[in-house]
């Protein structure tokens, strides 16, 4: 849907009227849910598009890490479970790309900018899953880390996005269970399997610690204070993740090798080795360990499969007649 068609569904704002914007901000801060047909300030629309686009790209690209292990899954059940998860992730991307199209940001434009490196996806997925245990660790713990952000987004001020998050959150629960089961099987297996699980945790734990982002203070995050797109800070999400994940990991007999990791009971906060936030800046420039390979893979896929899109776009014509079966 292009910008003009999107305009048929919502009034196109010309300039941001300060009084109207202030009224809008006051409304969302009081819990008003913004719908597609509502007037919204350009800054809000831009922020919602940027937020959702990063999310959609992350779902689309994140599926690649586990997709690599589909042919190498150890059992048929494991292969089916993993295939189901990968299909879910692509489906989540589809849901959000559709919402973006309704706001005038076409999927074609979003994909083009992703491949060209103009749009970003979550830095966590700029790596590879080096073992079967990695696939399990990603499904279990990265989806767990993401779940706190996603649950918060079910209260997002933008209505279509918050409703899509309900479905996404429900399906992510399957993924967490799938990943935890996979890791538990390894942790309770042979010595080699336990080593595989421990190696995967050692590799991914620093990344999981940084998953929810730097500890930006609440007052410095306009997505919280002004637009109510989110309501909890990155650090709050991280603390919730640690409170849930650390006991579960230890119950599986795995060790988290962070000498600073401990619960400060007086403060009620987990202490940990601070991630190197500066190092993550490289990912924004497309310089992650596997960024260029993943983007090249997606570009090649889009090119190779373009005939599918072309065929489906012309599928409404059969035998020279228009076919309408709605």
């Amino acid at each position: 849907m292009n910008e003009q068609e999107a305009g048929e569904l919502r009034p196109l704002e010309a300039e941001d009227d300060p009084a109207r914007t202030a009224e809008f901000v006051a409304a969302v801060q009081q819990g008003h849910v913004v719908e597609l047909a509502d007037w919204m300030p350009r800054a809000y629309r831009k922020m919602v598009i940027r937020f959702m686009e990063m999310h959609a790209h992350s779902e689309y690209m994140g599926a690649l890490l586990e997709r690599e292990w589909l042919p190498r899954a150890p059992t048929l059940d494991a292969k089916l479970a993993l295939a189901s998860k990968v299909q879910d992730e692509i489906g989540h991307g589809q849901l959000i790309y559709r919402l973006l199209a309704d706001l005038g940001r076409s999927t074609e434009d979003a994909m083009r900018d992703l491949i060209l490196g103009r749009s970003r996806f979550h830095w966590f997925f700029h790596h590879r899953a080096e073992s079967w245990a990695d696939a399990g660790m990603i499904a279990w713990l990265s989806d767990l880390a993401a779940s706190f952000a996603q649950l918060d987004l079910t209260f997002c001020s933008y209505g279509p996005y918050r409703r899509a998050m309900l479905r996404i959150c429900a399906e992510e629960q399957f993924h967490i269970t799938h990943g935890a089961r996979l890791i538990r099987n390894l942790a309770q297996g042979t010595a080699a399997q336990r080593r595989l699980a421990q190696d995967a945790l050692d590799r991914w734990w620093p990344r999981l610690l940084a998953f929810n982002g730097p500890p930006t203070p609440r007052e410095e995050d306009p997505n919280i204070t002004r637009w109510c797109i989110k309501h909890i800070t990155n650090e709050e999400m991280r603390q919730r993740f640690l409170a849930k994940a650390v006991p579960e990991i230890r119950n599986m007999g795995l060790e988290i090798r962070d000498p600073r990791l401990a619960l400060d009971t007086s403060a009620g906060l987990w202490r940990y080795t601070e991630p190197d936030w500066d190092a993550l800046q490289a990912y924004k420039l497309g310089l992650g360990p596997h960024t260029s390979q993943w983007l090249a893979f997606r570009a090649a896929q889009l090119e190779r499969n373009s005939w599918v899109l072309e065929t489906t776009r012309n599928a409404h014509r059969q035998g020279g007649r228009d076919v309408e079966s709605c």
Partner: protein, 88 residues
């Protein structure tokens, strides 16, 4: 308020809005989301794949978005009982 679908130019995907039962146990119809498809037949397949793979819905309806029509508000002038307590 549905009208006959207009013929789309060749090479365009159509937007379909998807409705379905809100949960496995509920008969309440809810808006599930939207998708793009070349025609309704493929739209139904996509809708099932996206919204009902785990039997979340017992029934699904798909409607092409351009069939949505504005409801008439001609008799609003006669609504003397309208107040903020009951109406927007």
């Amino acid at each position: 308020m549905w009208k006959a679908a207009e013929t789309e130019p060749a090479g365009r995907l159509r937007v379909y809005d998807i409705f379905g039962s809100a949960s496995r146990k509920s008969a309440q119809i809810a808006y599930l989301g939207s998708l793009e498809a070349p025609n309704a037949a493929l739209g139904r397949i996509y809708a099932a794949k996206i919204f009902a793979r785990r039997a979340e819905c017992r029934r699904i309806w798909i409607y092409e978005r351009n069939q949505l029509e504005q409801a008439s508000t001609g008799e609003l002038v006669f609504d003397f009982s309208r107040s903020e307590a009951t109406h927007e």
